[in-house]
């Protein structure tokens, strides 16, 4: 067995978009040529400002949106090319946990029905008794006790944390290999986040899971991930070990993001790098480095021509790290 669960190569995902009734449709390049490996058993955190393509990446991997190019190799086969029954089988291997436990659970379904649904769709339970046993086991494993009573409830009867446990139980029931968790705790109160994350990590140990953990919260990514991948406008900016990326960021964008991570300490912050403005639209991606217009380092260097002319490719920068910047290097 390879130590790589997925090999994502040059992945492209475009959305057709029409801005205004008289404009020509233009393509939103949500994921714009992304390559990375997902290692078996790891937690890979995907971070970046909103709109950088995190959700789209997760959806492309689980085939909830179609890709316009590239490949995703899984066990030597290209996920983007499988169809029909094989696709259905593969989908069982890849599950998603979404951000909003209020929206993602159907309010008319009982907890039992929600958690049983994947088994029914994939015809995985051979009898009513097996179905029941597996649903109850999944609920228990997700910390919903007593399972029999929880199974009879409806989403509105549960707290936010409990609902997210239901999403986890439903995602785990087919014993997937990969879980794409898209901001799974962002809607939850801080005091209960830890328990949900701990549960997810425990289940990883027990079920040998791999996580693609999408979050905008860098300190959370740092705490739970083995590696962190930073995206900007659909492209890889930097990838590496979680601690290395947070404490030794090499890309000016990562350095800026890290410099504004809130910490629960009362002291005035020094060394904040405040980027001006917000992420531009992925419709009109400028030539050269797409981060250039907001880049403090480019400005500091007096706007080197290469930044405007050539798109920086991710290049190796030490142990297991890639950085896409012509002037990558440690801080100031």
């Amino acid at each position: 067995m390879s130590d790589k669960l997925l090999e994502v190569r040059d992945l492209l995902v475009r959305y057709e978009s029409r801005r205004g009734p008289f404009r020509k449709p233009s393509a939103v390049r949500a994921v714009d040529g992304l390559s990375f490996d997902l290692r078996r058993g790891e937690v890979l955190a995907v971070v970046g400002e909103s709109g950088c393509g995190k959700t789209t990446l997760g959806k492309a991997i689980t085939r909830l949106v179609g890709a316009s190019g590239g490949s995703i190799l899984f066990d030597g086969r290209d996920l983007l090319k499988v169809e029909g029954s094989e696709l259905r089988r593969m989908c069982g291997c890849f599950q998603t946990i979404f951000q909003d436990p209020y929206e993602s659970l159907d309010p008319r379904q009982s907890i039992f029905d929600i958690v049983a649904e994947p088994l029914l769709i994939h015809r995985e339970a051979s009898s009513e008794a097996e179905l029941r046993a597996r649903v109850h086991a999944a609920l228990e494993a997700a910390g919903l006790h007593p399972a029999e009573e929880m199974a009879r409830r409806y989403p509105h009867m549960l707290s936010g944390g409990q609902r997210q446990r239901v999403s986890i139980a439903a995602a785990m029931i087919l014993e997937p290999e990969l879980i794409v968790a898209d901001e799974p705790v962002s809607m939850l109160d801080v005091s209960i986040r830890a328990e949900i994350i701990r549960l997810m990590l425990e289940l990883r140990e027990r079920n040998r899971l791999t996580y693609l953990f999408i979050t905008h919260d860098l300190s959370l990514a740092w705490m739970i991930a083995d590696r962190i991948m930073v995206l900007y406008l659909g492209k890889l900016v930097e990838i590496g070990g979680a601690d290395e990326v947070i404490h030794g960021a090499l890309h000016p964008y990562t350095q800026a993001l890290v410099s504004v991570i809130p910490v629960p300490e009362a002291r005035s912050r020094s060394g904040q790098i405040l980027l001006k403005g917000e992420t531009p639209s992925p419709i009109d991606v400028p030539p050269g480095c797409r981060f250039r217009a907001r880049c403090w380092k480019c400005a500091e260097l007096g706007g080197p021509a290469i930044c405007a002319e050539r798109e920086p490719e991710p290049l190796p920068a030490g142990e297991g790290r890639l950085v896409a910047c012509h002037f990558a290097g440690t801080h100031l």
């Binding site: 905008h216 740092w222 705490m223 979680a242 809130p262």
Partner: protein, 321 residues
């Protein structure tokens, strides 16, 4: 003191019974202070703060207490008197208001209208000039006042809401979760703006946030609520460096801190109590790892730790950690 809230109680009528959202809250704030009001959702932050300009929902009743603003009890004022204070003395950046701007009206004219509404003596040209000044003050180019809300990014809309709150030169601004739902970089920009405005204009502000790290970095003083009560208040440095209440300590421990060792945060198992039948004793009793028998019987007395640092827990006296 600019503001003194004494023993405030607020209830909401609901089908399931009365929700005791704020249960005897006492807080004070000096002129020019940036006070952080923190606590997990449902702890009563919004309710307590909106009681000040008396902008509570219809089903709310202020069941007791006083709110002294400049020495005068706001709860004793008639509605016209109160209306004269809103915006001009006390203004609010409502949670989520940046998404509630009128989509078919230019942002600048929405703010100009607010000015004209609250200051009848102002003329249109004067109002327009004020809007342009306000825009510059909050970091939006004056020319953008002719834009529509959808032409603004989230960060700019929030800046515009702050401009609107400042339009009539208030002394106290209440900002309810002003950076929640914004991107980290924009959050940092807005927090810097808030700090700058407070120091440049000598403004007093109550910054409400469920995020302790946001408050830690921004505020001079902090008040932490739980289940409708104040559990701890004090200078930001004292409270964050030596939290005296087990809830404050636990909540602080629930945030990862990239400046410290990379450990898994603990979280706080359990849920807050029902506020329809709130517990007799300490609201945190059920989830408290350091409770002792008796904590659930009577409301814990406030322990004064000096220098304005107060915690509602008997353990506070021992200098808990």
């Amino acid at each position: 003191m600019l503001l003194e809230m004494q023993d405030l109680c607020v209830r909401f009528a609901s089908r399931a019974g009365d929700v005791q959202a704020v249960r005897g809250l006492s807080l004070s704030m000096a002129e020019g202070e940036l006070l952080g009001l923190a606590g997990e959702s449902g702890s009563g932050k919004t309710t307590a703060a909106m009681a000040i300009p008396r902008l509570l929902p219809r089903n709310a009743t202020v069941a007791g207490g006083r709110i002294l603003f400049d020495g005068e009890d706001l709860l004793a004022k008639g509605e016209p008197e109160m209306e004269a204070l809103r915006w001009k003395a006390i203004s609010v950046v409502f949670q989520g208001a940046m998404n509630a701007l009128n989509p078919v009206q230019r942002v600048g004219s929405q703010i100009a209208e607010a000015i004209l509404h609250h200051e009848a003596a102002t003329g249109r040209d004067e109002a327009r000039r004020r809007v342009e000044e306000l825009f510059e003050l909050v970091g939006i180019p004056a020319a953008r006042s002719a834009s529509y809300p959808h032409e603004f990014s989230g960060g700019m809309r929030q800046r515009a809401m702050i401009a609107m709150a400042l339009a009539c030169k208030p002394r106290l601004v209440i900002a309810d979760e002003p950076i929640t739902a914004l991107d980290v970089m924009i959050q940092a920009q807005i927090l810097n703006l808030i700090k700058r405005l407070c120091s440049e204009l000598g403004l007093s502000m109550i910054l409400i946030s469920h995020d302790l790290s946001v408050i830690a970095e921004t505020c001079d003083r902090v008040a932490i609520m739980y289940a409708g009560r104040l559990v701890e208040t004090g200078g930001a440095r004292e409270v964050f460096e030596s939290p005296a209440h087990p809830y404050t300590a636990a909540l602080l421990g629930a945030f990862p801190n990239v400046n410290k060792e990379r450990v898994f945060v603990a979280g706080i198992p359990g849920n807050p109590p029902s506020l329809i039948e709130p517990p007799r004793g300490c609201g945190f009793y059920e989830r408290c790892a350091r409770r002792s028998p008796g904590c659930d019987e009577a409301e814990p007395a406030s322990v004064d730790l000096g220098g304005g640092h107060v915690a509602a827990c008997p353990l506070a006296r021992g200098g808990s950690r």
